[in-house]
Symmetry: C2
Subunit: 281 residues, 2 copies
């Protein structure tokens, strides 16, 4: 029994499944958790691999700690999507964070992950976390100056995540942020055509809203091409110039992927990636 | 018709083939070239994807330009393996290089690539290139102080490439290098168990021979995990401290992946990669 993700009609990645733990259709999407031989449990939404227990640390560390190391004083955080809880888990490691509002459109993702993926969902009960089961677009629409950090940890811009890749949503995020606010989000991969288009669209729109809009990368072996991109946008903070490496390192957080040298390296993009970002503007 | 590479018995990567151009068994290994829908032509040796026309630039730029940017005065180069010619192609772009000795054990790899992969093999006729069809181990055994740079661009340490991952071969390379000499080689990926073992073995042995032994990374979408590691070893030059960014940039070489900021980023490894290197020592 194999799970296969089609990267294109001509390229596929397959993982042998030990056991299907759950496979259901929610109001919004299909949600499945499989136990696998090589990756532990994996979460699959609408046929796309969202995370594996083996390498989810890469995605969740990179979507969280880069922003936290640029502004270690962050107190109020909004997380959009992220129903598996991995991003919240990383955020709860900061004693200085006071509030984490998490908005997930699909309650069933959280229920499934609480039951089958405690590795990621285990910190959703942290007292600082408030869960809102609603559309992130709607949630952000009436917020102003409330958050230091917004993390958009969504599915790709097809299906329920679509609204989270629009200019109007990014403008709502901008307004929902305080003066030193940062927006971090996953924007796709630089290699396969559909991913490239998603990256270009997201980057162009974010850049039209935020004065600082940068892109950084990580190696995520179980995402298409293994090369994944994140957006870092802010009202002024620069992710390289304003990195507080000493402050972050003094926190003594144990991370498996992220470190402050890699932080800088993450913003050093290959030429072909820089070119596709420019071409999309 | 699909080509499938098994990353483990439980993980596979498959590419749809448009046409099989050649599929033969040489004295040393099987050699195949397929035309594909998404990657152009691909070279497969012993069932492993060696290169695709679409992304070979990443591997070949990263195995070449990192060393050249640390010592832009390199004149004499030995290339071991690399029958496809991609590494030589990148080297020939430097007017300052005077001699490129290329030692490939399998003449048929070169013949196949000359015929079917002119994109990589097209510079093997450069007048500075001398081709030796013999075992790289044997070739290096009687050289002393001849080269500024040795690039070992081999298959993995199973099959004919095995001898190129031994301590005695690295010691021969050390002796074959001049005082400012650099050894660059591909050592494997950090993610799947077989690759990890190869990386650890190579790193441990290189470190036991060279005073400077570092590892750097690149995103190669069509290699297992998309995350690939290279060794940089030298008799003294440090790949970060001694980077000649201004000199290299003044050469005006057009690269699709490499740039001098990414050079530095390439040496900023994730924590889990640093740990597996340390654990292998």
């Amino acid at each position: 029994m194999w799970f296969t993700e089609d990267y294109t009609p001509n390229v596929k990645f397959s993982i042998k499944i030990r056991e299907k733990l759950v496979d259901l259709k929610s109001q919004y999407q299909t949600i499945a958790v499989y136990d696998t031989h090589d990756f532990g449990r994996v979460l699959v939404i609408d046929g796309y691999l969202m995370l594996t227990e083996k390498d989810e640390f890469i995605y969740h560390e990179m979507i969280t700690h880069v922003s936290m190391a640029v502004n270690p004083s962050i107190k109020d955080v909004l997380v959009v999507g992220a129903g598996d809880g991995g991003t919240v888990r990383e955020l709860t490691r900061y004693q200085t964070i006071e509030r984490i509002d998490m908005v997930e459109i699909d309650r069933q993702v959280v229920e499934v992950c609480r039951k089958y993926l405690p590795q990621t969902a285990g910190k959703l009960d942290d007292p600082r976390v408030r869960l809102f089961f609603m559309d992130g677009v709607q949630f952000a629409a009436d917020k102003a100056g409330e958050y230091d950090l917004i993390i958009v940890d969504s599915t790709d811009p097809l299906g329920p995540g679509e609204g989270l890749f629009t200019r109007s949503f990014y403008a709502d995020c901008h307004r929902a942020l305080k003066d030193q606010g940062i927006l971090a989000n996953q924007i796709g991969g630089p290699y396969y055509p559909d991913d490239i288009q998603a990256v270009q669209n997201a980057y162009r729109k974010i850049k039209s809203v935020f004065p600082v809009a940068r892109v950084y990368q990580a190696n995520i072996p179980t995402y298409a091409s293994g090369h994944w991109l994140f957006g870092f946008a802010s009202k002024g903070l620069d992710p390289v110039q304003d990195l507080k490496a000493d402050v972050w390192n003094s926190l003594g957080l144990h991370t498996q992927y992220y470190n402050t040298k890699l932080h800088l390296g993450g913003f050093a993009l290959p030429n072909y990636v820089k070119q596709l970002l420019e071409a999309g503007e």
